[in-house]
């Protein structure tokens, strides 16, 4: 490793003043703008979740009115999905790391990158306006004809918000694709790229190809609501199920927009945590692309009891099983990476272990839903709620937190307090499982999702969930506090506190504005911890 000159100027203190942030074209500063935004939305979505869990402590709907409850779960879903989970990893960690990891000075289109953030914030403003002015009660799925002709809440504002935010996704995806194709440093071949880049490449493809469809879908809801065009309303010849096809054609791939970047983070954490090549690098890389492609062909598994034909159901079922295979391949490869590694027990790895275990459960319970005869019973119950929270919270948020810990020294130049961080990771893991595992059981018992009141026999399991949620909430507050604390008081991190491979660990922490003093020349694969070669056995 060449010696690193320490610079007194870095991207954080290169310029001062609010305008230097609001008009920045530096991908790292834009990443921090997104970090601030998505953290705020996460907190807001979390507050809605707290209210939901408080209401569900008792079987009767007694804390809030039904109208209010319906708005709470709708806004929880809308904010968490569109304004936290979809942007969180790509727009924060991806923005920060994609150029650095491939040896570039910035993304291909820095101004477009800043525009993405503004578009995101404008879209979010519409959604927030909808929250403040009475809320929306359609569920984040906006099923018609309820959303398009019946509900009298702020559907239009929320739909416009989602429509606008979609463009931010599209532009970010476009920026990543062009950057990865055109701006790799000399010697950074496709198969030397970190797996984080592969997963962001696959994610970007989905963003660019899928997001226009959700834009069209919410536009059609808008057209039916505001202009009285007849599209989904059966009373004038429309088809309500058409909405579900359009909605899930985007929203199922969107699940992979949320989980693929998380998988990329885990590949990096596992490699650095075991100081080893990711086992089966090319299989993990191609698994990302396979998920991106197959993910577009499985939307009908949300519609097995929607009056879609039995044969369509069978095709969507078998394709859904196929998309599970690349995910399984990744889980096995991460686990195998630990074998004969030099395995760390530091916080990022604790999150990675948590991710692998919880994502495995999330993925396996997805098989229950792909199984036609079983899905009929568990469809629209708490079983599905538990399943997607295992993937989204146990998967994406665990990976996001693990990634934040791993790259925090690079982002802030400071170390976070390791003891507190381990404690926080443990609390998150325990709180998460206590919150969501009982929901599998109450779901199989038959408790439907989106129920404001429920029969008494479901209460014990709901109380467990609510208790777990309060623990989980504390688990999220702990890192929030010590990350902020560490920005001022944390010890200086130095360029490579983990002893990890990767171009991001060859430069200063925090990096200078243009990342690299001289463009790096890459001569080896992403995880070349040793030059010896060994077989498995």
């Amino acid at each position: 490793m060449h010696t690193i000159a320490t610079h007194t100027r870095n991207y954080i203190n290169a310029e001062y003043g609010v305008m230097s942030w609001l008009l920045t074209r530096d991908h790292k500063r834009i990443a921090l703008l997104y970090l601030g935004s998505v953290t705020t939305f996460f907190a807001l979505g979390g507050l809605f979740a707290v209210a939901i869990r408080l209401e569900l402590l008792t079987p009767a709907g007694d804390l809030v009115q039904s109208e209010t409850y319906n708005k709470l779960f709708t806004m929880h879903g809308v904010i968490m999905v569109f304004f936290f989970l979809i942007p969180a990893i790509p727009a924060v960690l991806g923005n920060f790391l994609v150029p650095i990891m491939i040896g570039a000075k910035d993304l291909a289109f820095p101004k477009l990158n800043l525009l993405s953030w503004y578009i995101f914030m404008i879209g979010a403003s519409f959604a927030l306006w909808a929250v403040v002015n009475g809320g929306v009660d359609t569920g984040w799925t906006f099923y018609t004809p309820y959303s398009s002709v019946v509900s009298n809440t702020q559907v239009i504002a929320a739909a416009v918000g989602i429509f606008i935010t979609g463009f931010s996704s599209i532009l970010t995806g476009l920026n990543f694709i062009v950057t990865i194709h055109r701006m790799r440093a000399p010697g950074m071949t496709w198969f030397r790229m970190p797996l984080f880049i592969w997963s962001h490449y696959a994610t970007s493809l989905i963003m660019v190809l899928g997001t226009p469809v959700i834009a069209i879908t919410v536009l059609l809801v808008f057209a039916e609501r505001a202009l009285k065009l007849c599209i989904f309303d059966a009373s004038c010849g429309g088809d309500p199920v058409l909405f579900q096809h359009l909605f899930w054609f985007y929203s199922h791939p969107a699940v992979y927009i949320m989980i693929l970047p998380a998988m990329g983070v885990i590949s990096e954490l596992v490699a650095a945590g075991a100081r080893k090549n990711v086992f089966g690098y090319s299989f993990v890389a191609f698994a990302s692309l396979a998920i991106a492609v197959l993910g577009f062909l499985v939307w009908g598994h949300h519609m097995f009891v929607s009056s879609q034909s039995v044969y369509a159901g069978m095709i969507f079922s078998i394709l859904s099983f196929l998309v599970a295979i690349p995910s399984a391949v990744k889980v096995f490869n991460w686990t195998a990476t630990l074998y004969k590694g030099s395995v760390s027990w530091q916080t990022p790895m604790l999150y990675a272990y948590g991710f692998i275990g919880l994502f495995a459960i999330g993925g396996l319970t997805g098989l229950f839903l792909a199984t036609l005869g079983l899905d009929v019973h568990v469809h629209d119950t708490y079983f599905i709620v538990a399943h997607f929270h295992y993937v989204m919270v146990g998967g994406t948020i665990m990976a996001y937190l693990g990634g934040l810990h791993y790259w925090w020294p690079k982002i802030s130049g400071r170390l976070y307090p390791e003891g507190w961080a381990k404690f926080g990771a443990l609390i998150v893991f325990v709180g998460f499982n206590l919150t969501f595992f009982p929901q599998f059981i109450v779901g199989y018992l038959g408790m439907p999702r989106r129920y404001h009141a429920y029969p008494e026999e479901f209460q014990v399991l709901n109380v467990m969930s609510s208790a777990g949620a309060s623990i989980l909430g504390v688990g999220y507050l702990i890192p929030f506090v010590y990350f902020i604390w560490s920005m001022r008081y944390g010890p200086k991190a130095g360029p490579n506190p983990w002893g990890a491979k990767g171009l991001e660990w060859t430069i200063d922490s925090p990096p200078i504005t243009e990342n690299f003093v001289d463009t790096p020349v890459v001569t080896e694969g992403a995880y070349a911890y040793t030059h010896e070669r060994m077989d498995v056995v």
Binding site: T141, S282, V305, T371, G373, L374, H452, Y529
Partner: protein
């Protein structure tokens, strides 16, 4: 505390055992792989823990054999799940021809049930034990979903469509009925009970309150009131197609297609008559969308189904419906 902690729903239909067997198979597979992964992570993380700050892992890059192993084995297992699940799904979707038919309408926020012999109930469904029951379902407003956890089955009711759901209750008792598709403010109050009764008790209940006549006879009255009979005459003299003996038969359409005259076709022909014009007839019929309630549509369908080709077999729709319908929604 644990007597308040149920882990498993009651089994009260022919499907319940089948669905639960599938469930246990998937739990076994999931538990095996989750525990395997968790165990390997813990063992590797302890066995190969970092012992010095400069230590690096072994130079292992991968293994084609292992990649093939953990691609093919999960593929094989999931294909078993697919086939087994598809088989159960077929069973869930194929009502036996001899099933007794009950008509259900969902509306914000209640379930309205009409029995062929005339009984009506709201948020309750009485059925006999040991007899296949087929529900013909519609909705007056938004999408709802008719869900009986103890029977392990549900199906959406969809505006503009007629959907079906069938089951055979196996154990007398009182079971939850839920609306499973979010339908607005009082979604969680759109609940009720399914009362499974011994056949004798069910017969007694049936004969309890059929004050307004059977479903088909109410359909017949509606048929007269709406003046359907002025065009749809029993002989081919009318301006509209003959309805006698129509149900379950193939119908040739003007555009050359042939469709089977099942309940969905009858429903569509009432609310959207221009959609499928019968060959040889003019598109004269006005739409009855909005002029007739969803329950009325179901009554008309029940009536049309009783119109036999020769002498009408009587107004009881409890008899096996005519053959030839492979009706899956």
């Amino acid at each position: 505390m644990f007597q308040n902690l149920p882990l498993f729903p009651a089994q009260a239909s022919g499907f319940a055992g089948q669905v639960d067997a599938l469930y246990f198979f998937l739990i076994a597979v999931s538990a095996f792989f989750s525990l395997l992964i968790a165990l390997l992570i813990v063992v590797f993380a302890i066995r190969y823990r970092r012992r010095s700050p400069d230590e690096v892992g072994a130079g292992i890059t991968g293994s084609l054999q292992l990649e093939l192993l953990w691609t093919i084995v999960p593929l094989g297992i999931t294909m078993v799940m697919f086939l087994w699940g598809a088989w159960v799904f077929f069973t869930l979707n194929r009502a036996p021809r001899a099933a007794m038919e009950i008509y259900v309408v969902g509306k914000q926020w209640m379930w309205k049930v009409q029995h062929p012999d005339g009984q009506r109930e709201i948020n309750e469904l009485h059925v006999p034990v040991g007899r296949p029951v087929k529900l013909l379902m519609g909705t007056e407003d938004v999408i709802h979903s008719f869900f009986i956890p103890a029977f392990r089955t549900k199906f959406d009711v969809v505006p503009g469509k007629l959907t079906t759901l069938w089951f055979e209750a196996t154990k007398p008792g009182r079971y939850h009925l839920f609306c499973a598709e979010y339908c607005g403010t009082k979604h969680s109050a759109m609940i009720g009970w399914v009362e499974v009764m011994e056949p004798a008790a069910f017969q007694a209940w049936l004969s309890g309150g059929a004050g307004e006549g059977s479903l088909a006879s109410r359909g017949e009255r509606l048929f007269q009131d709406l003046a359907c009979h002025t065009c749809h005459m029993p002989d081919s003299q009318g301006r509209g197609p003959v309805l006698d003996g129509l149900f379950g038969k193939p119908v040739k359409l003007q555009d050359g297609r042939t469709v089977v005259a099942d309940e969905s076709y009858l429903r569509e022909s009432i609310v959207n008559p221009q959609g499928k014009i019968v060959a040889g007839y003019q598109p004269l019929m006005p739409t009855f969308q909005g002029l007739i309630s969803e329950e009325g549509v179901l009554q008309l369908i029940a009536y049309i189904k009783t119109l036999g080709p020769k002498a009408a077999p009587g107004p009881s729709a409890n008899e096996p419906p005519p053959p030839a319908k492979q009706g899956t929604p």
